[in-house]
């Protein structure tokens, strides 16, 4: 027995040891990933060139020995002395890599261990999630109604035939029955039904005149709000900053697009599809933006992109021109709408009126922008007057007047008290 016990205990011990080691390994690898993400990921990708070179395969490229540690400690110093570093700088400059002088050797090792063992997680392109089964209940109801109508019709015919038979048997003479398409009851019913349907469509069409709900024009560039506001989580106000300051939300000028697109030169996300099923080449759409901006992705002093020179002297890069986006939401001249009142003061979300923009590949008009629609929201939305610093404090001055009158500090409120002598009241 004692022999077995020894073997068992040895086995257990070795198992434990392996477990400990493998756990340790995992910890190291995980650390490598975390370190990579914290320190390197903003400029390097493991398997793709980014702001800096792809890191995978580094061993085959860099000089042997502890070059990598020296480089990490001080890229600037290496660029001054080492020929391979100078070559790197020539290719990837003019920005030098940030120095990581205080990073311990173990952490550097962990990062490169992670890089060597990295495998891309699944091929990125969507073996797309199956489209959710459409709600087919309407179709079934329609089919059922048709079947019942058919049964009813057949029964009516059978009924009339039976009556004819029984009439013949009992010797009652009746006139030749009129066919159903000349039967006045049928005709009247059909006319009434058509009238109801026609009336419904006509009235709806007439109400919809000038409302343009679901208007989804073709834009000069296939700009997807789903990609920008949904997937990339860019705030609406990043581009449409006017919504918090002015009447117009504003369509961003091309320089705002270029803030990101100087660096984002190709589209690699999931497929972009138009409503008619044709596919959109995202990278080609970004190229269109470059032509509007007068920006050359291979131009500039280092060939990494730059604005075209202004040879014709009009103050903007040659070829730069505004993008003629098609305006979707139009209000007639007799309606005043101010974005900042709703966004800044009313604290409304953009989606309240514009729908789930972050899910729209192409923007369409979500609400009908009718007067009834506006009024409904104004009836239901509660205003936060709280004077505790969170609300809009709009009536705080009136509250003060009420208090003062109660306490006898003033006996009446004049027009001047409520802003009647402000210049703009008359001179606007």
């Amino acid at each position: 027995m004692s022999r077995y016990r020894k073997i068992v205990s040895k086995l257990v011990a070795s198992l434990l040891l392996t477990a400990v080691f493998s756990i340790n390994n995992n910890v190291l690898a995980a650390d490598g990933e975390a370190l990579f993400k914290a320190n390197c990921a903003s400029c390097h990708k493991v398997d793709k060139d980014f702001t800096g070179p792809a890191l995978q395969g580094w061993k085959d490229r860099v000089p042997e020995g502890d070059w990598i540690y020296q480089w990490m400690a001080s890229p600037a110093k290496m660029i001054d002395t080492d020929p391979y570093s100078q070559e790197l700088f020539k290719k990837w400059g003019p920005t030098k890599m940030t120095a990581f002088a205080s990073m311990p050797k173990e952490e550097i090792d962990a990062i490169f261990k992670y890089v060597d063992e990295y495998k891309p997680a699944g091929s990125g392109d969507g073996s797309a999630v199956a489209a959710p089964a459409e709600d087919q209940s309407t179709l079934w109801y329609g089919i059922l109604t048709l079947i019942f109508a058919l049964i009813g019709f057949v029964l009516l015919q059978v009924n009339s035939n039976l009556r004819k038979l029984s009439d013949e048997k009992e010797g009652i003479k009746r006139g030749e029955p009129v066919p159903f398409y000349r039967n006045k009851t049928y005709l009247m019913t059909a006319i009434l039904v058509l009238f109801a349907i026609g009336g419904y469509w006509t009235i709806n069409g007439a109400i919809g005149l000038g409302r343009h709900q679901n208007y989804e024009p073709v834009q000069p560039i296939f700009y997807s709000h789903k990609v920008h506001a949904g997937i990339n989580q860019i705030s609406c106000l990043y581009c449409h900053g006017g919504a918090q300051d002015s009447k117009h939300a504003g369509i961003p000028s091309v320089n705002v697009c270029m803030n990101c697109h100087m660096a984002v030169k190709e589209y690699t996300g999931e497929k972009l599809v138009r409503p008619d099923g044709t596919e959109v080449n995202g990278t080609a759409e970004i190229q269109k933006l470059y032509s509007y901006a007068g920006w050359d992705p291979n131009g500039g002093p280092e060939g990494k992109g730059g604005y075209n020179p202004d040879k014709n002297g009009d103050g903007v890069p040659d070829g730069a021109r505004p993008i003629e986006w098609v305006k979707i939401h139009n209000l007639p001249d007799h309606v005043y709408f101010n974005h900042s009142q709703h966004v800044k003061v009313g604290k409304q979300q953009c989606q309240t009126c514009h729908g789930n923009i972050q899910d729209m590949a192409e923007v369409k008009q979500f609400a009908d922008l009718s007067m009834g629609w506006c009024i409904n929201c104004h009836r239901q939305t509660k205003v936060d007057f709280n004077a505790d610093g969170k609300g809009n404090r709009f009536y705080s001055i009136y509250e003060k007047f009420h208090q003062d009158m109660k306490n006898g500090k003033m006996d009446s409120v004049t027009v001047e008290h409520i802003g009647g002598t402000e210049c703009q009241k008359c001179h606007y």
Binding site: K96, T98, L194, L209, G210, N255, V264, V326
Partner: protein, 214 residues
């Protein structure tokens, strides 16, 4: 049969009025629906009366939000005069932030603007891990020592003119907002006192134009 065809035609007309959603559809009174006043981005040329959306007419109005040269918006700071070159970058460290103490309301507003305009790349906590950081690339971690010691003026210079992969934010943020956002970034850096004025060091590792102490 005449009756039937009449009804059929009415129904057809009713159906055809709801056309495809790629065109804006019809309106009752084009002179009210399409403004005659000057409106930005308007569908139709506002100087010309027409109901035809394809007839766009002359130049429409486009703008970017940069102030007109030589003007100052009411309530905004004086214009920043240093030029967009390596000399201007070097000198920028000597420009002091005009906002020394900020109220909590102002700070909340600065935080909101930071999250809208900067957080998308630099991350909510300034750690270079915003949703776009993996796509734009070269995003700096604002909590690194190089940026903690960077002068407010140098940051302002970079936000105003852009730096490396970052574009200019002069059209999106007023000068006041830019200075206040820098104050907010200081709170993300853990309240470490930045070097200011002429004693400042410009960021050593970031700048290719090898700035020296000045």
């Amino acid at each position: 049969m005449y009756k039937f065809s009449a009804i059929a035609i009415i129904v057809l007309i009713a159906f055809s009025s709801c056309g495809d959603n790629r065109t804006p559809g019809r309106v009752y009174a084009p002179d009210m629906a399409y403004s005659r006043t000057y409106e930005a981005y308007d569908l139709l040329d506002s100087t010309k009366f027409t109901g035809d959306v394809l007839d766009k007419g002359g130049d429409k109005i486009y703008f970017n939000a940069q102030p007109v040269p030589g003007t100052i918006k009411r309530g905004d700071e004086f214009p920043y005069t240093l030029p967009h070159d390596s000399v201007g970058y070097k000198l920028s460290a000597s420009v002091a932030n005009p906002f020394v103490g900020m109220s909590s309301v102002e700070m909340m507003e600065a935080a909101r603007l930071y999250n809208i305009n900067c957080g998308v790349c630099h991350g909510e906590k300034g750690k270079a891990n915003g949703p776009m950081s993996g796509k734009v690339g070269g995003i700096v971690d604002l909590t690194l020592p190089a940026y903690v010691t960077m002068a407010d003026g140098t940051m302002f210079h970079s936000i105003t003119y852009g730096k490396n992969n970052m574009g200019s934010y002069a059209s999106q943020l007023t000068r006041k907002q830019r200075w206040q956002i820098i104050k907010y970034v200081r709170t993300l850096q853990g309240g470490v006192k930045p070097a200011t004025d002429s004693t400042a060091k410009a960021a050593p590792a970031v700048d290719s134009a090898t700035t020296t102490k000045n």
